[in-house]
Symmetry: C2
Subunit: 369 residues, 2 copies
């Protein structure tokens, strides 16, 4: 059975790792894109010790409220329309304000004094060049918002925090630090700051400020390029598995699968696994991609290479190295989990784990461990 197993205890463990690294900061736990594909309903109960959650769309914010989340919700791209701004007020959502139209909606329609929407995350573009005001714009916006009664959190986003050696990091940190000092001096000493995503939490511990915004680290993947999830003491929150549905000996020189990409060098014991890109396993993986076969009889785990092109509904793997490979029918196969870690599979697919986790389809059954 194609199965996605979520481990809430792993998420709580990973949250605690963040809190250890950033003990003086509040935590906005990112649960956008259905909690990075893990399912927001499964994840929220594991995040009760977070100070807030971050979402990308108003629909995601409303879903979290419906699920009973009654603490801070940060809408990280803010409202898309004036109507969404009103809905944010209605549901006590704290919004990012990153461009002039959002500023106008906020100034035209100020929520009640006690509303969580009175807290706004004012976005400063320090070098990502995706969203946010420039220096002049952020100062002007801060003054207007403060005058209208808003509490401000200055925020920005790293472009290269995963790579501690990238020169833009120091530039972004300095710009942020200078602007926060300016706002505290010229607008209000109460302006707060939020700089770090997962990678920033790990790589820039001197710059955690009032709120950190961890995302991928909560789900157990490494957010930096020079340390593994294991080195960071993270636990993978998802195990993605399927089963062996047939066994076959492929003769030397025969090709397997679409485009006849993989050609057997010798007679090879293969197994067919009920998983494919129609479930969310990536279609194009390198030759070193592997899965783990769990032998039913002794519960041992064996790494087995993926052979040829991944199809919509199945893959073929090499089970030659499994001792009792004639009795593997119906055995469980781990696509990612403890081993291989999703970060490894992402490397085999020339992408990052975030994408694999988000692009799972509706077909696999979802359960909790």
């Amino acid at each position: 059975m194609r199965t996605i197993t979520i481990k809430p205890t792993a998420i709580t463990h990973n949250l605690n790792q963040v809190k250890k690294r950033a003990p003086h900061s509040k935590v906005l736990a990112m649960v956008k894109s259905n909690a990075y594909g893990h399912g927001v309903a499964a994840v929220l109960p594991a995040l009760t010790q977070a100070d807030g959650i971050g979402v990308a769309t108003l629909i995601e914010a409303l879903e979290a409220r419906q699920l009973g989340w009654n603490k801070t919700i940060g809408l990280v791209e803010g409202a898309f329309t004036a109507d969404e701004w009103q809905q944010a007020i209605d549901h006590e959502v704290s919004c990012v304000i990153h461009h002039v139209p959002q500023l106008e909606w906020a100034l035209d329609n100020v929520p009640p004094a006690a509303s969580a929407t009175r807290v706004v995350w004012l976005k400063y573009n320090t070098g990502m060049n995706r969203l946010g005001f420039n220096a002049e714009g952020v100062i002007a916006a801060a003054k207007h918002l403060h005058a209208a009664g808003y509490q401000l959190i200055l925020t920005t986003h790293f472009a290269n925090a995963d790579d501690i050696t990238h020169p833009l990091n120091a530039v972004q940190i300095q710009r942020f630090k200078d602007m926060l000092a300016t706002l505290k001096e010229t607008v209000s000493n109460d302006v707060k700051g939020s700089l770090c995503n997962s990678a920033g939490v790990v790589n820039f511990s001197e710059h955690h400020y009032d709120w950190v915004r961890p995302g991928i680290i909560l789900y157990g993947s490494a957010p930096v390029i020079d340390k593994s999830a294991q080195e960071l003491d993270l636990q993978p929150a998802m195990s993605f598995s399927a089963q062996i549905i047939a066994l076959q000996t492929v003769s030397a020189n025969d090709a397997i699968g679409y485009s006849s990409r993989w050609i057997a060098q010798k007679d090879t014991e293969t197994a067919l696994v009920s998983i494919g890109y129609g479930d969310g396993y990536p279609r194009v993986v390198s030759e070193d991609a592997y899965v783990s076969v769990i032998d039913n009889t002794n519960n041992r785990s064996y790494p087995c290479a993926v052979l040829g092109r991944v199809a919509m509904d199945m893959i073929v793997i090499d089970v030659s190295a499994v001792p009792d490979n004639t009795s593997l029918l119906d055995s469980k196969v781990i696509l990612w989990g403890d081993a291989p870690h999703v970060d490894e599979v992402a490397a085999h697919a020339h992408t990052i784990s975030y994408e694999l986790l988000c692009r799972l389809s509706m077909r696999p059954k979802r359960v909790q461990a």
Copy 2:
């Protein structure tokens, strides 16, 4: 609003194109993996003129029955367990039999004479080397199944039908033709044949046999490498869209997005679009990837390049070439649909449209046109 719009009329049109190409064959319309990501509930009503549907899992078969599909359902990898075989009988599902355990379940547990499960699709491995019996095995299985009262459809699957020049095609066709003749002669003259997927329907019109099994062609993508969807008179069944949520001028020499991959050669008018890999747009696309911006004021469509790395929730595009690019806030953006066609986006992402369609997430809203 992130939106997936399905056009059932396009699917019916594409089905009719198949029927024109294969006028003497029955059509098993493939709806596995949630109808290639289109949503099986939206797609089934457009397929009433098909003779049957094909699914990859028993759960998909049961879902189609629940939706009221009362014609043939072909389970293309067959039952995974003896229990699934019983459930297939219970729900009148016709199964592929591709290996010995499935043969044993069928011989041990023969459905009533009038059951649709009495029709089995006997899989012959002609060169895909993924599933199916070898020549000796298929003859033995056919004899046993025929003796037990089953009606047989001999079936196989092409490995390279998309490339009409590939030498394996002729080998597979000849092996299939010979085996069908053998079974008609030695087992029963009533044995039927099914060889062609979408690519086979287009490329091998002399070999359509009793059942064709179109998949991707129904959804409007080209199944062959040398002809476009337009050249084949296919209509895309899905339009995937989002909206512009901010506008920004990026200065010359500034970099955009993660890893600072895209660097502006000159001051550039950009727009932020509310879509990302968290919705199913591929994270890695080539520099010629583009989207279409629909100008609200005149309904005209403008191709706009995707700049830098696709993020989880947003992309940045170049709107310099749109005449009134200061008034584009909230404009609709087509990720794929009429233009760019999903086949183009797949080429930009170094994959095939099938994968993009299947790996859409649950986040976009789904509607029908």
